[in-house]
């Protein structure tokens, strides 16, 4: 008996008014993979993530998670099934402490039934896992810097105990060193058994971390393969990478 892929998209289309954001997208993600989603601005990458975590409803097509159709579910329902993620603009609950932010993930995610105190203990563990500063755990999130906020956001997503983590430009706003640390963290997360689908505009990150890359352009999938295959793909070079792709080879 073959195991079904973790995530499966079939002919997914979404439009906003007259603009087709994604068109007939098909792909699969297997367990414990890191898959990169790349493409120029407006290619539909973030839209696709929002369709997977159910913030947007697709116009047509189907989405299956562990073989189960999730096309009609709501964001909180897919979160409980094991899909969680971070957004392009770091979001959190600003007037709550870092530990409370993450505890909410523990309380309402896949783990579910646990007391507030237990959830806070678990939240502290997750914050330590993402290497968040120990002495800032009780700091209100609105008083954190962008790198700390990104870690809280990541910890909050991890606290829901996901099987699939959707990362939308997780290095945006981070400096070089913080960006490197974020990449190390993504590797560490994968080692813990979590599958990752990440949108990233920095090709070097994609090349260094992803097992497989899917390229979108104008809402359509134009290529899929290993990072090496993708950077050598004619269509990808023409529409996205341009001549600068030479430096990635």
């Amino acid at each position: 008996m073959t195991k079904s892929p973790l995530l499966e998209l079939e002919k997914v289309t979404k439009s906003f008014g007259g603009l087709i954001a994604v068109r007939n997208i098909d792909f699969q993600i297997d367990r414990n993979e890191i898959v990169g989603l790349v493409g120029p601005n407006g290619a539909g990458k973030s839209t696709l993530l929002k369709i997977i975590n159910r913030f947007y409803k697709q116009d047509s097509g189907s989405i299956r998670f562990e073989g189960e159709d999730i096309s009609r579910l709501n964001p909180h329902e897919v979160c409980k099934m094991g899909i969680s993620g971070t957004t392009q603009i770091a979001q959190a609950f600003p007037d709550m402490t870092a530990i409370e932010n993450v505890a909410i993930g523990v309380l309402f995610g896949k783990l579910g039934r646990t007391s507030v105190n237990e959830a806070k203990k678990k939240a502290a563990e997750v914050l330590r896992f993402v290497e968040f500063s120990e002495n800032k755990m009780e700091t209100l999130v609105k008083n954190l810097n962008i790198a700390e906020l990104r870690r809280v956001q990541l910890a909050k997503a991890l606290a829901t105990n996901p099987k699939l983590l959707l990362l939308d430009e997780v290095t945006t706003g981070l400096g070089h060193i913080e960006g490197e640390k974020a990449i190390e963290l993504i590797r560490k997360i994968r080692k813990s058994g979590i599958t990752i689908l990440m949108v990233e505009h920095i090709m070097k990150i994609i090349m260094g971390i992803c097992d497989r890359v899917i390229v979108l352009n104008h809402g359509e999938k134009i290529a899929e393969g290993t990072p090496e295959e993708v950077v050598n793909n004619e269509a990808v070079i023409r529409s996205y990478l341009g001549e600068s792709s030479d430096c990635l080879k």
Partner: protein
């Protein structure tokens, strides 16, 4: 690790001792042979603490009601109608609260997708509908003439009734503050806070936003109905004016001044309201002496002064007095 988040109410916190002291003072006051009038206004102060705490629970989930007098009135009318027919006031109070919660759930269903001003307007509209309904259904409600509300329990005289009622309303106020604290510190409270802070992020973190918003409406309406029912049995008379906009605005004014979505806010706001109103009452003879003409507009001064305080608080302390007071009282490390 020694830091205090705003969700904590640690025993070591000075706020706790201050609250304890306030309760002790409140418990002994009636033994000092205070006047019937003072007893009356203190009971009303406890009523406002209870009412504002109930309203605050809804605000804690990020939903603002401009028509909470509707739930207050439903609780009051249901207990009155029930007690008139059965002479079982305590059961009437409970049924009033339950019916109010049920109506709150229904209103919540229509409001759950609305935000800010739209939500405020729908809730306000509902309280206006209740005025019209009460006047139209005069066969049951007594119309504009209202209804005499039976006493909650028999008493030898009014002083004795007030004496016992003082403790009933004090218990209700303390209970509602404590239950608010319990809810806010629970899983449900964290969901309410998350929804208030960032609704989309709350959904992404696995919170069923619709369910918790409805729960906030239902809980808030239940406790508002309960407070309204006890209020009716104390005042002894109700008519359509219980649904008045003024009655809906008081918990908003009290909470904004005291501290919106905080435990202490309703207590601070209600105590402040009590002192301002009493101050104005004490000043009345003086105003009468220096400017007899002023006395006709004097009753309106209350709302004028509260309006002025509201403006000052919003400008100087946008989050109300409680967060400032907490900052002041929290021991520095």
């Amino acid at each position: 690790m020694k830091t205090i988040s705003y969700l904590h109410f640690s025993l070591k916190n000075i706020t706790f001792y201050l609250s304890f002291l306030l309760i002790i003072i409140a418990l002994v006051i009636p033994f000092f042979q205070i006047s019937l009038y003072l007893m009356h206004v203190l009971i009303l102060m406890f009523y406002y603490i209870g009412y504002s705490s109930s309203w605050n629970l809804l605000a804690y989930s990020g939903q603002v009601s401009f028509g909470h007098a509707a739930f207050l009135g439903i609780g009051a009318y249901i207990t009155t109608l029930f007690t008139i027919r059965t002479s079982l006031p305590f059961i009437g109070v409970l049924i009033g609260a339950i019916v109010s919660a049920f109506i709150g759930l229904l209103i919540g269903l229509t409001c759950v997708r609305l935000r800010e001003w739209f939500l405020a307007l729908v809730t306000f509209g509902f309280s206006i509908i209740m005025i019209a309904l009460t006047i139209e259904l005069d066969e049951f409600t007594g119309g504009t003439l209202g209804l005499i509300v039976p006493k909650l329990f028999p008493s030898i005289n009014q002083y004795q009734y007030y004496f016992y009622y003082y403790y009933i309303m004090l218990t209700l106020a303390v209970f509602l503050v404590l239950i608010s604290q319990f809810i806010i510190r629970s899983k449900v409270g964290l969901a309410f806070a998350a929804i208030r802070e960032n609704e989309l992020e709350a959904k992404a973190t696995g919170i069923n936003v619709m369910k918790y918003k409805l729960l906030a409406f239902t809980i808030s309406a239940f406790f508002t109905g309960l407070t309204g029912a006890f209020y009716a049995h104390f005042i002894g008379f109700i008519n359509h004016q219980i649904y008045s906009p003024e009655n809906s605005f008081w918990p908003i004014i009290i909470n904004v001044i005291g501290g919106l979505a905080t435990i202490e806010g309703p207590v601070i706001g209600s105590i402040l309201r009590f002192f301002i109103i009493e101050f104005l009452r004490i000043m009345e003879p003086w105003v009468r002496t220096i400017s007899p003409g002023m006395i006709t507009i004097y009753p309106k001064m209350q709302i004028l002064i509260f309006g002025a305080i509201l403006v000052v608080v919003i400008i100087l302390m946008p989050k109300g007095i409680a967060p400032q007071l907490r900052k002041f009282l929290t021991p520095k490390e």
